[in-house]
């Protein structure tokens, strides 16, 4: 039973309307959408993708795999030399991630706008360093360090360090920017300097998140480590390059397979460890 006071639907005057997207904003949305579609069609047009060849590709890939890459030369990847290069790759990823994160913690702190010790000087410098490390692809870092340091694992470790600084530095800074500022102020109010504020007010709030990011960084660094060897920076990538150049396709197949398996394993370990850490709060 409807009470007398309730408005029935028919009583509401139909002149009252409401739009989710109001006028100038709605126009920008449509213009943005239009621009995106226009750019897509332009790109496709420019690429001049021949549809028949594109579709035929799948059949040829099948032939190629069965003719040349199958069966993979499993014996080749169980050779002690190759195993040694795998271990070298793991070590490179470990060292690169370690050094990278040691640098990324202070960079993340300095580059977090809410707590940076100096917004005018230290903050932009930290942001610039992190962004530069990110802007350059890990393979390019590898090429750079190979030219500076020569072939071998050291160049690889440096390249991965730069990669991890960019990767973890940004994530660390973002994590710090999301903390509760209350405890930070409370610690500051005790007369603590900025370093002690970091140790007592900031770090306990991000420790768990940092651990998770650290594991993730190692995982991503390992994936990157498998290719830096392609440019002579140590690890299994070198074997890949040599066999690609010598058209040893069945060995290439085995190496690619081993990379896939190793990355899967490292991802599984990383996912497991991160789940554990997340539960620890």
């Amino acid at each position: 039973m409807a009470s007398q006071d309730t408005l029935s639907v028919s009583e509401v005057t139909p002149e009252r309307t409401w739009r989710r997207f109001k006028f100038p904003g709605s126009l920008y949305r449509y213009l943005g959408l239009l621009a995106a579609v226009a750019f897509l069609s332009l790109s496709v047009n420019y690429l001049n993708i021949p549809l028949d060849r594109f579709l035929g590709m799948f059949g040829r890939v099948g032939d190629l795999i069965t003719d040349r890459y199958y069966p993979p030369d499993i014996e080749y990847v169980t050779d002690p030399d190759y195993i040694a290069s795998v271990i070298e790759t793991i070590q490179m990823a470990y060292l690169g991630a370690l050094f990278g994160m040691l640098a990324a913690v202070p960079l993340g702190w300095f580059g977090a706008y809410n707590v940076s010790p100096s917004r005018r000087f230290i903050y932009p410098i930290a942001r610039l360093l992190t962004m530069s490390a990110r802007a350059v692809h890990e393979t390019i870092w590898a090429i750079l360090f190979v030219t500076i340091l020569g072939f071998g694992m050291m160049a690889g470790v440096f390249a991965l360090t730069m990669f991890c600084i960019g990767f973890a530095g940004k994530l660390f800074a973002e994590e710090i920017e999301a903390i509760d500022m209350g405890p930070v102020e409370a610690i500051r109010a005790t007369g603590a300097n900025e370093f002690k504020v970091m140790v007592y007010g900031i770090f306990p709030q991000v420790r768990v998140a940092f651990t998770g990011i650290g594991i993730y960084t190692w995982d991503v660094a390992f994936r990157a480590a498998t290719v830096v060897g392609f440019f002579g920076a140590g690890g299994m990538g070198w074997y890949l390059k040599r066999n690609v150049l010598q058209i040893e396709t069945q060995r290439v197949a085995a190496i690619l397979l081993s990379i896939v398996v190793l990355v899967l394993i490292s991802e599984a370990i990383s996912a497991f460890a991160r789940a554990k850490v997340a539960k620890a709060k």
Binding site: G182, P183, A186, A189, T190, Q205
Partner: protein
């Protein structure tokens, strides 16, 4: 001589923004329990955070322990802060640290960087922390994480942390507003007792006028950044309260 003397304090949060405090002056004497009352948004938190320069005023003068707070360099500012305890409405404990570590962090103005990093506090500091925790009634919760405690217990940790500083002045920003009425009263009574025992003057923001009238000996009334009342609690009356809170009724 007053322990704190504020004169013509003005604050804007941004150059084009509104003036939040419009020329506030008052003195706090060594045995005062001083309340700042006023409707929310009046500028009470802003005022109290200016005293230890968590907020930087636009102009005016703050004399604290004989130091001109607004002219201090970073190092001297930390020296003043370390003698000034602060207790917050939201407790502002570090949730993932133990009660003990939270309380010990009150000594951070005194320990060196390396000792702070490895949490190597002196035996005197630890003994003091234990006795302060006894005093606020938390001796059974020393090793618990801060976020395992109830609201009232957390504020007691906040009180203990402030006492660790051996403060010459306590700044309280609505210390009981996050607590239910019964606990509020207990915590407020505890703070009053402790202030007497440790002979610390207190400057306390408080929204609840009844608590202020009961526990404080002086008060100033703030409305929209302007001081409407300044005097002993006994001089406060219904009419003046209505003036101060007039804005809120609207």
């Amino acid at each position: 001589m007053p322990i704190l003397s504020v004169s013509d304090l003005k604050v804007r949060y941004s150059t084009s923004g509104p003036e939040i405090l419009k020329g506030i002056s008052f003195d706090v004497e060594p045995d005062d329990f001083f309340a700042i009352i006023g409707p929310s948004g009046a500028g009470k938190s802003t005022l109290i955070r200016c005293i230890n320069r968590l907020v930087k005023p636009t102009s005016g003068k703050i004399m604290l322990y004989g130091d001109d707070v607004l002219r201090l360099g970073a190092r001297e500012l930390r020296r003043v802060r370390r003698s000034t305890g602060m207790i917050f409405q939201e407790f502002n404990l570090v949730n993932r640290m133990s009660v003990m570590d939270n309380v010990l962090s009150g000594r951070l103005g005194h320990v060196g960087n390396l000792r702070a990093l490895f949490r190597q506090f002196s035996r005197q500091d630890i003994a003091r922390a234990l006795s302060v925790l006894d005093r606020v009634g938390l001796s059974d919760h020393v090793d618990k994480r801060a976020d395992e405690l109830s609201g009232g217990q957390r504020q007691r940790v906040g009180i203990a942390r402030a006492l660790m500083q051996d403060p010459k002045l306590l700044l309280l920003d609505e210390p009981t507003s996050s607590l239910d009425p019964k606990i509020s009263r207990e915590v407020m009574a505890l703070i009053v007792e402790i202030a007497k025992e440790y002979r610390v003057p207190v400057l306390c923001n408080i929204h609840d006028v009844k608590l202020a009238m009961e526990f404080c000996n002086k008060m100033i009334g703030l409305q929209d950044g302007v001081k409407m009342f300044d005097g002993p609690t006994s001089a406060m009356n219904e009419g003046k309260l209505n003036d101060i809170y007039a804005m809120e009724v609207l």
